[in-house]
Subunit: 241 residues, 2 copies
């Protein structure tokens, strides 16, 4: 059977848009046909790099019936508006974690996609890593018995290395700091391995990084099956061990 | 200078009383001169094993002016009454963790000893282990820079191995279950290494053991210096790794 790749437009050009575009090119399951970002220079560069059309506006992409999906790498606070518009234009959306900066915006995004009947694909790549898939397979095979407790840590030493001009490192662009930015990868992995999370306790602190955002955070998670887990996320200590 | 060992009486005979008595004999800093427990059989056996007098009552020990200290290994819920009586009799007290089952009883114990001017020695042996002392020395030497985050785990597989007749495994004798019984060792170690704890969030669950007590528990601790730490304690999984 011939496979026709999904025709996608990428929006929001930054370093992560290129990581995804590279993966799209390797997978051949999507084809990048257009791109848009506010900076003309950035969208021309992306268009040249990935052999697609630089659209004059996001509206032009939405109006293009040939485009079936949006790969959305805009900043978090633009996710709701851009995704709602994509859903209204009957286009599927790929959206990276965190899909929103607030629970209510996250809910509004899922409702918009569900009502429009389009797929909302979530970018949580960690659960797709082979070691976590292996553990999941072991759990399914009963190798670990009843799950009761797990510990997760995701740490990156960002001391002296952060760009306070990036929305990724400000409380406005990434409320919750290190926990929303990288810790959330492991709330997803813990949910993938131990099941849905029904309650959370947590604390965060800003201890060594400049700016206005927490750089250390700790959670206790209660899973529906009863298991408890903890998650530590840090931008103030070396990578996880 | 000649060293005169402190004359001590042991009260509350169980398996832990003998662990401490063995250590006392090795240290030679104390001399066990008397013992008391409600079971005449147990106190006679202890007296024979450690070459001390089996006192007919706790009162007899308290009235003996030659006895300077009490090594108290009674169950938690007897700590307050026995320690208050010892302090009133001007005797120093060694009391194992947890010193009480409630914060108010713990405070009453410390107040009684302080007012009587006697030493209340606490049995938290974990912080005395050489690896934790080594880490403490490294911290003092500045090897780790600013402390921001730590993780602790204390787990013991008790599935099929617990004695529900022991106060150590019941909610009445050891409220909080695994966290009060063994987890507390590592709240002490975390405090030893990261400084005083000013806030705690936690959850506990009873998942695999019989009885009426939590067998899995998780805490997030906030230290006065700002560092966050997590502690997981379990009687439902293998020993810490």
């Amino acid at each position: 059977m011939a496979f026709e790749p999904l025709r996608a437009a990428c929006i929001g050009m930054g370093w992560w848009s290129d990581v995804l575009a590279d993966a799209i090119q390797r997978s051949k399951k999507l084809k990048i046909v257009a791109c848009y970002t506010r900076s003309e220079e950035k969208r021309r560069a992306f268009a040249a790099k990935y052999g697609c059309r630089a659209a004059p506006s996001y509206e032009a992409i939405l109006e293009d019936r040939a485009i079936e999906a949006i790969v959305n790498t805009t900043p978090n606070d633009a996710h709701l508006e851009t995704t709602r518009a994509a859903a209204a234009a009957a286009k599927h959306v790929f959206l990276d974690k965190p899909i929103a900066n607030t629970v209510s915006e996250g809910r509004a995004i899922t409702v918009a996609c569900r009502k429009a009947g389009v797929v909302l694909a979530l970018g949580y790549q960690r659960r797709r890593e082979s070691h976590f898939r292996w553990i999941r397979a072991q759990i399914d095979a009963g190798a670990f018995g009843k799950l009761v407790n797990a510990e997760a840590n995701i740490s990156r030493d960002r001391v002296g290395k952060i760009d306070l001009g990036s929305w990724r490192y400000t409380a406005a662009g990434m409320p919750g700091g290190v926990m929303l930015q990288i810790g959330i990868h492991y709330t997803d992995v813990l949910e993938y391995l131990l099941g849905p999370i029904k309650a959370v306790n947590g604390r965060s602190a800003q201890l060594v990084l400049p700016g206005d955002n927490p750089d250390v955070a700790s959670l206790v998670l209660e899973h529906e099956g009863g298991a408890l887990s903890t998650l530590n996320a840090s931008y103030a200590s070396a990578s996880e061990y």
